[in-house]
């Protein structure tokens, strides 16, 4: 994939994150009308995952892609791997796959 496409993906995932992360904060934050401790209760946490599984799925994919691509860009600028950039890309894609699988498993199992 061209670097320009990865940057466009970063911008799109960022725009998605602004909305879904705000929603996540509202569920876990002061506007939920609950104390922070209460929002950590098992029933409340699983209830949110069940009720808004699509939103949390979107949040998971956008956050993992945006975050790990950000790490890749920092690593590219730090190490200048040049001909070994493919190795860095491979590691990042594997990490993405791992965290997406773990998060999806949680969503599917709880939901």
């Amino acid at each position: 994939m061209k670097e320009s496409w990865s940057m466009i993906l970063t911008y799109i995932s960022a725009m998605v994150l602004i909305f879904v992360l705000t929603f996540h904060f509202l569920l876990q934050g002061p506007l939920a009308g609950k104390s922070f401790e209460d929002t950590l209760a098992f029933g409340y946490a699983t209830g949110n995952l069940v009720s808004f599984d699509f939103v949390f799925g979107l949040l998971l994919f956008a956050a993992v892609i945006h975050g790990l691509n950000g790490v890749r860009v920092i690593a590219l600028e730090w190490f200048h791997p040049k001909e070994k950039a493919w190795l860095l890309n491979l590691v990042v894609v594997m990490l993405m796959a791992f965290f997406l699988a773990l998060g999806s498993y949680t969503l599917v199992t709880v939901g």
């Binding site: 911008y11 960022a14 602004i18 209460d38 699983t46 993992v64 975050g67 730090w78 998060g103």
Partner: protein, 151 residues
């Protein structure tokens, strides 16, 4: 392959905001908060995974986090601040880089150079972001303090 000496200063130098304008400070803060957030995200996915293991596993995880005492609160407050700043500054960057907004028109690079990207609009947005994020960060801190029974 021999490393190009131009790149030897590496990451630390790239994050040095001193001696530069406010855009460089934004850049450095965006990077630092981004690294904080990806670290938290990975831990958060592992943490949320405990939900699928049942209520006992989840309660044990929460108790383990609560045993950190004030560190849990401080950590979450730093994460909240990072998310607020990274998000707000990210909106500015999207407007700048993806849509070409808030930037001045291109001019010939004539000495003494002054970045057209740092015009009145851009400065106003940078300082508005700083103000709004600070207010929301204080709010998040008070909410966390109250939620964890500190105040």
């Amino acid at each position: 392959m021999k490393k190009d000496p131009r790149y030897k200063s590496g990451l630390i130098s790239s994050l040095n905001p001193f001696g530069y304008n406010v855009e460089r400070w934004s850049y450095a803060l965006h990077r630092v908060t981004g690294v904080v957030l990806i670290g938290y995200l990975m831990a958060h996915i592992f943490e949320t995974f405990e939900l699928s293991m049942g209520s006992t596993a989840w309660t044990n995880t929460m108790n383990a986090l609560h045993s950190l005492g004030p560190l849990e609160l401080v950590g979450l407050w730093i994460v909240a601040g990072s998310a607020l700043y990274h998000g707000a500054n990210g909106i500015r960057l999207i407007l700048n880089e993806m849509f070409g907004k808030l930037m001045g028109s291109p001019i010939l690079p004539v000495y003494p150079y002054s970045p057209t990207s740092l015009g009145r609009n851009q400065r106003m947005v940078v300082w508005t972001i700083t103000g709004v994020v600070l207010v929301l960060w204080v709010w998040a801190g008070l909410y966390l303090l109250a939620g964890l029974g500190v105040v």
